[in-house]
């Protein structure tokens, strides 16, 4: 997991505070960002008739990232294939049992006016891919990229940040350490105890970037006259008390993380504390819950 840490307090009560984890990414998310850059539609050209050129890498990328393939069969019919289940159905201007329909002529005509369109054509009939999947096998994507380009997945382990961002924030990475000795209280900053290291999950990213909120009632649903219970049901909402619940107290970890705190706090100095996978500290060793720690 890569984390971007706020340096110095923001100006307002609700601003990010020194050490707050402003943003975090899983390793897979970073790989996927780079894969999207490599397979960006702007990297692929058009055929002479204005269709998107069906480059092998682009097709493989779309097959692995989209949910559906649509293939025009004639002036009215489109075959939709679910790429996850291989289930097929036919769509026309007449609604199906789910009230779905498509006017394929109008659809394709409109798409082709977008210079970033993703409409391909084979044997005179158009096809396209649509709806990004929820879960994407980034290693499979990178296998294709490595087959078709000179880019290597192993050289794309870090999120792309500008030098300005690296001066303004402390960028570092961490992972989950599982200790053979079950030492829950050790720091695992340099992992001399030979922990098993693994990537952090999306849930960890979510938790570490969560806010501190207070629930409030903002509105009510109106009961219908025929309802037995005429009590308006409240609509709850939240107010954000603190933008982030977790922080990295880098000033306390400077020695073990080999950081010079003065350099970190000097926004003229670019600090990139991201390490190779086997050198990454434990996420639980470097982050603290500000509520549990009594900070807020």
């Amino acid at each position: 997991m890569e984390i971007i840490v706020k340096i110095n307090d923001g100006p307002s009560a609700t601003s990010y505070k020194d050490g707050d984890i402003v943003q975090a990414f899983t390793q897979d998310e970073i790989y996927y960002h780079h894969a999207q850059n490599k397979c960006n539609i702007k990297n692929f050209g058009f055929t002479t008739d204005g269709m998107r050129s069906p480059e092998p890498l682009l097709i493989k990328y779309l097959e692995k990232t989209k949910t559906f393939k649509f293939e025009r069969l004639n002036s009215n019919e489109v075959r939709r294939t679910n790429l996850l289940t291989s289930q097929e159905d036919i769509l026309t201007t007449t609604p199906n049992e789910n009230e779905e329909y498509i006017d394929v002529y109008q659809y394709v005509t409109r798409r082709l006016k977008n210079k970033n369109h993703l409409i391909f054509r084979e044997n005179g009939l158009e096809y396209w891919y649509a709806k990004e999947r929820a879960n994407i096998d980034v290693n499979a994507l990178w296998s294709d990229i490595e087959t078709h380009t000179s880019s290597l997945q192993s050289q794309h382990t870090k999120f792309s940040l500008s030098s300005s961002e690296k001066r303004k924030f402390l960028v570092m990475n961490c992972c989950t350490h599982t200790c053979e000795d079950d030492h829950y209280d050790h720091t695992c900053l340099d992992c001399s105890c030979h922990c098993d290291l693994s990537e952090c999950s999306k849930e960890v990213v979510e938790e570490k970037t969560s806010s501190v909120v207070n629930r409030i009632i903002t509105d009510y649903f109106i009961p219908d006259p025929e309802d037995e219970d005429q009590t308006p049901k409240p609509i709850w909402d939240v107010e954000i008390l603190h933008k982030r619940k977790h922080q990295v107290p880098y000033w306390d970890l400077a020695s073990s993380l080999s950081l010079n705190v003065d350099d970190v706090r000097n926004t003229s100095v670019e600090i990139d504390s991201r390490k190779e996978p086997q050198q990454r500290p434990s996420v639980e060793a470097i982050t603290i819950n500000k509520i549990d720690a009594g900070i807020i």
């Binding site: 960006n40 949910t67 006017d103 880019s151």
Partner: protein
């Protein structure tokens, strides 16, 4: 007032790394092919090679600029090398093998960088720099940042790109920062202290929307002045995955706009431009974009909640209360499913009252597939009920809002729940709003507490009659089975296209709402006033006057 535009995107400075396979030419121009197909390389990019020569038994770093691309053939022009060997082939493309072997091809690293030939500082801290040969990188954008490392002074400079003139091969760059305290009057970073022109590396100003927001909250921002109008433009480098971004301080900025670069805007359908697709939950009721500042515009976004079905994310735009002159326009929000938790799902939702003189405008947006599968919770697309100021809800399209609850509604639009609210609701479409009970199927909910001006809207026959579109010029009970008259171009899952179909009853049934806040610009960027016909209802303007007088058909299609 100064407008400062900054780019937001994830692409890196390094574009590609390739090893030449063949080369032709005799310098300074060489046409090169590579072992694999290059990706992402554009005219104006810089390619560097570290090549060894037996002649002087040393490695020299060669710098080339891309001057032309034709298929897999890339023409590069020699600019310089450390050892001043010059442009004679083959050095720089491959190392010389000396007397003992064949030349060895060397890796060429392509970057979004450039070398200027001159700079003019007439309006310092802005400098207009000139690029030779092919000009600046073809994929450089206003709002990107350029960094120049002046090795002779040991100092790194940062500039913000404020204008690009490709015809004159010039870029205007505003000094932002240097780490040596040299200040704005120095040309360093563009030209070294030793007089040599430097390589400038270009990047996006911000990698994520969250980092953009963090600087909006900064009292000492790098890129803009304290009272500027700031525009953050998303670029479709990769998906934006920020799970929640809270705009709750803007210091003394005049306004904040979160937009999309013009070439990366959606075409009125999902996933056709820059895509914001969070991969983790926002927190229940927090929202993906949370706004608590005045003078903010959110436009041209495509936000998909498809990956969040099993999470607690239940809102896209949340107005917290400080929201005067907030405008939400030309966005597509879609694909909320699942059970986000015990408060239902609301796409655009105002929480607090605000001041009676405050105005929020919701214009030309599309919301579709907004579903809550919980048996006891609501699904609501645009809910501005609690606002105490003026709310303008104009020309939006809501399609398929579905609550699975008996006791809670599926709502298209809800407003006028505050005695001080004035709700202006016109030209909107609510199509297919459903819940388990008919009484809960509500296209337009006018709570009736304040003042409402509601007309020229359209609701489909699924809506409870009490919540049909109100007003003498509204259209109600439109069939939503689509058997005889398709309403939209497509409602097939995955290829939804909610542009109006040629047979749609919403064509030319709207009202001319003028040009305030660009309400006349539809979901594709079409100016309704330029079409020469009555406005259509909904976010899309399909109708346009025929320019051929002999044509019997009055309607043709644009976009």
């Amino acid at each position: 007032m100064t407008t400062t535009t900054v780019s937001i995107g994830s692409r890196s400075n390094t574009v590609d790394t390739e090893t030449p396979a063949t080369s032709s030419g005799s310098g300074p121009l060489y046409t090169v092919t590579f072992g694999t197909t290059p990706t992402g390389i554009a005219v104006g990019h810089i390619g560097t090679v570290a090549a060894f020569s037996w002649d002087d038994e040393d490695t020299s770093n060669y710098v080339y600029v891309v001057t032309a691309i034709s298929g897999d053939n890339i023409t590069v022009k020699y600019l310089k090398d450390d050892n001043e060997r010059g442009d004679a082939s083959p050095y720089g493309l491959y190392s010389s093998g000396g007397s003992s072997g064949s030349p060895v091809q060397q890796v060429m690293v392509f970057k979004r960088s450039g070398i200027t030939t001159a700079q003019a500082s007439a309006s310092a801290p802005s400098y207009t720099v000139t690029f030779g040969d092919a000009g600046p990188p073809a994929d450089l954008h206003v709002g990107d940042v350029g960094g120049g490392a002046d090795e002779s002074s040991g100092c790194e400079f940062t500039y913000l790109v404020t204008a690009i003139d490709l015809s004159n091969k010039t870029v205007t760059m505003k000094y932002v920062h240097d780490d040596g305290g040299n200040g704005t009057t120095s040309p360093h970073g563009l030209q070294g202290a030793d007089g040599n022109q430097l390589i400038i590396d270009f990047n996006r100003a911000f990698s994520t929307i969250t980092l953009f927001e963090e600087m909006i909250d900064d009292s000492s921002p790098n890129y803009w002045g304290s009272s500027d109008d700031v525009v953050g433009e998303l670029h479709a480098d990769s998906n934006f995955t920020d799970n929640t971004v809270t705009f709750d301080q803007k210091q003394s900025l005049s306004s904040v706009t979160l937009s999309v670069y013009s070439d990366d805007r959606h075409d009125g359908t999902a996933e056709s431009g820059a895509l914001w697709k969070p991969t983790t939950a926002s927190g229940h009721d927090v929202g993906i974009i949370r706004i608590n500042i005045d003078n903010m515009i959110v436009e041209w976004l495509d936000i998909s909640l498809h990956e969040l079905d099993s999470t607690n994310t239940n809102k896209v735009i949340v107005f917290v209360g400080t929201n005067d002159d907030n405008i939400i326009r030309n966005n597509i929000f879609h694909d909320k499913d699942g059970d986000p938790g015990n408060n239902g799902c609301f796409c655009i939702h105002v929480l607090a009252a605000g001041a009676s003189s405050d105005v929020i405008s919701i214009l030309n947006n599309i919301v579709y597939r907004w579903e809550n599968t919980d048996s006891g919770e609501a699904a609501s697309a645009i809910n501005m009920n609690a606002w105490s100021g003026t709310v303008n809800i104009y020309n939006n399209t809501v399609y398929y809002v579905h609550s699975h609850a008996n006791s809670q509604p599926g709502e298209g639009y809800k407003f006028n729940g505050n005695a001080n609210q004035t709700a202006n609701v016109k030209n909107n479409i609510s199509h297919t709003v459903t819940a388990n009970r008919l009484a809960r199927r509500r296209a337009f909910v006018d709570t009736g507490t304040g003042t409402s001006n509601v007309d020229y809207n359209l609701s489909t026959s699924d809506s409870s009659s009490s919540y049909d579109a109100q007003g003498a010029n509204s259209i109600i009970d439109v069939s939503n089975d689509n058997d005889s008259t398709p309403f939209f171009v497509s409602v097939a899952e995955g290829s939804e296209d909610l542009h109006l179909h040629a047979s749609s009853p919403a064509l030319e049934e709207g009202y001319d709402l003028g040009t305030t806040n660009s309400v006349n610009i539809d979901i594709d960027g079409i100016d309704r006033d330029a079409t020469g016909v009555t406005w259509d209802m909904g976010a899309d303007q399909t109708s346009v006057a025929s320019t051929t007088t002999t044509n019997t058909s009055f309607i043709m299609f644009v976009e």
